[in-house]
């Protein structure tokens, strides 16, 4: 599904932030990207999301060479990816409901067609009574749940999440991760960037990409 071949990234003439990275993300896999703060986890996710172009190497996504994609094809691929940003990136002028429904709206679906499923997902993540609120009045945890709901509403083939449980209590964190596991069980490949060691220990079956010094080391998970 996702293949990095000797991928490197540098900004300007500076040192490489990502150096000669090789790995693959298989369909229906569950992968953690871990490493200390500033190691490049978010950068790696942005390369996966194709919002950054590597300065060397190749990225293949959904069997396509990312460097050969035109805008239309890139848009089509992005609709198969759900992304949860570390800084949430909710649109402040839209309500929680409208933010979660955004991926459905931009592909042209009618509001009456998706209203029920958006409301159901909002209630599931605990935002049923906050759907008319605007993001500036939401707490950090509520924003995170809204961002997760927005990524999940389209049932993506690949889910990229950057510190998705960083702002929630342990109980809700377990609940959200169970949602990710359920998605994985239904066929979504899940990639989570986190530095939460406890989280990694809970999901021993997951593969780990450890980022450090611009390099990536792979560790397969234990058999379930």
């Amino acid at each position: 599904m996702l293949l990095f071949e000797n991928v490197g990234l540098r900004y300007g003439m500076g040192p490489e932030i990502v150096r000669g990275v090789n790995f693959s993300i298989d369909p229906q896999s569950f992968t953690f990207i871990t490493g200390p703060s500033g190691a490049g986890k978010t950068t790696l996710l942005r390369l996966m999301l194709l919002s950054l172009r590597p300065t060397r190497g190749k990225i293949h996504i959904f069997d396509r060479d990312a460097s050969q994609l035109d805008k239309r094809e890139l848009t089509g691929l992005r609709r198969r990816i759900g992304v949860v940003f570390q800084d949430f990136r909710l649109l402040d002028h839209l309500t929680t409901y409208e933010n979660v429904a955004l991926p459905l709206r931009v592909v042209g679906r009618e509001e009456k067609d998706y209203r029920a499923e958006v409301i159901e997902l909002l209630r599931w993540v605990g935002l049923g009574d906050r759907m008319h609120a605007l993001p500036p009045v939401l707490s950090g945890g509520e924003k995170q749940r809204a961002a997760i709901a927005r990524a999940l509403i389209v049932r993506p083939e690949l889910l990229l999440a950057d510190e998705p449980t960083g702002n929630v209590d342990p109980g809700l964190a377990r609940r959200l991760l169970r949602l990710f596991v359920e998605l994985h069980r239904l066929g979504t490949a899940v990639v989570i960037a986190t530095h939460d060691v406890q989280l990694l220990d809970q999901f021993g079956f997951a593969r780990r990409l450890v980022v450090g010094d611009g390099l990536v080391s792979m560790f397969d998970g234990a058999s379930p």
Partner: protein, 307 residues
């Protein structure tokens, strides 16, 4: 059906927040430039209409001129010329200016009460034509040459050509000014669109990441800017229509005042035709469409630079 006790508003909030985009300032710029474009277009149409009317009037008559010469009985030549012209085909009316009437024509330049009997003032005969074709004019010229060879015929075509050339120059200049106004408007819209996009860059990024196509994003901007363009075009276009309606009313009032006939003869009636007002409405409609088109083009160009 949504779950119980859940009321979901039916509104679809705009994806690009309206208060982040160029608003009243752009409406004002579009309104002013639309007004100027309409003034230019209307002025060109008035000029063209006036020149056309003047040419028609000038070409509907010819002037026979008899210059005084020693040994020639001017009055006899006038009588022969009047008789010949009256019987020529394509002539509607013949009027020979008397000596007194000729002196009155010169009064604005030479003053009243001046004895012109010692001056070689030509006698004029105005011939109104019912047939302005070259054949009819040629026949009149031939008849006059035979009956009164001392008389000369001026068909006013030189003057008509000069009026036409002047009118064409004014209309051409107006067209240049009109085009420059439209270019200025398109440039202003382009700047406003670029500025607006830079201001909502983060929103555009999010839209891209959730799968919005460039066409979808462009249509959001286009819809907004077209609305601004419509507002500005309405203000500017309707103001221009009101302006022309006002001067049409005033020119009607002037024409009833002393000297008003001369003013109307010189400058026309300052009244736009129904077609002229329609043209102003079309300018407004064109501005609205231009606003949407330019903003969409700029948005696409901007988005093509983004990943």
């Amino acid at each position: 059906m949504p779950p119980n006790n859940v009321v979901v508003p039916a509104r679809h909030a705009p994806l690009i927040p309206r208060d982040s985009l160029a608003g009243n300032a752009l409406v004002a710029v579009i309104a002013i430039l639309t007004f100027l474009a309409c003034l230019t277009a209307g002025g060109a149409m008035l000029t063209s209409d006036a020149a056309h009317a003047w040419r028609s009037e000038v070409l509907s008559e010819v002037t026979i001129q008899i210059k005084p010469k020693s040994g020639v009985d001017v009055q006899a030549v006038v009588d022969k010329a009047v008789a010949a012209a009256s019987h020529a085909p394509g002539v509607e009316k013949v009027h020979a200016y008397s000596t007194l009437e000729s002196e009155k024509l010169l009064a604005p330049w030479l003053g009243a009460g001046l004895d012109l009997s010692l001056l070689p003032v030509p006698r004029l005969i105005v011939v109104a034509l019912s047939d302005q074709s070259p054949d009819a004019l040629a026949r009149l010229r031939q008849v006059l040459q035979q009956a009164a060879p001392e008389a000369s015929l001026d068909d006013h075509r030189t003057w008509a050509r000069r009026i036409g050339a002047m009118a064409n120059a004014i209309v051409g200049l107006a067209l240049v000014v009109f085009i420059l106004t439209i270019v200025a408007m398109a440039t202003a819209i382009g700047f406003a669109t670029r500025g607006a996009m830079a201001g909502v860059r983060e929103i555009i990024d999010v839209l891209h990441f959730v799968g919005a196509s460039d066409a979808f994003i462009a249509s959001e901007f286009q819809r907004h800017f077209r609305r601004l363009g419509l507002k500005g075009a309405l203000f500017g276009g309707l103001s221009a229509i009101a302006f022309f309606a006002a001067i049409s009313f005033l020119s009607g009032a002037w024409s009833r005042s002393p000297g008003g006939n001369e003013i109307a003869a010189m400058f026309g009636s300052f009244s736009l035709s129904a077609g002229g007002y329609l043209a102003l409405l079309l300018v407004g409609a064109g501005v609205t469409l231009l606003t949407g088109y330019v903003s969409r083009t700029i948005v696409f160009r901007y988005l093509s630079e983004l990943l």
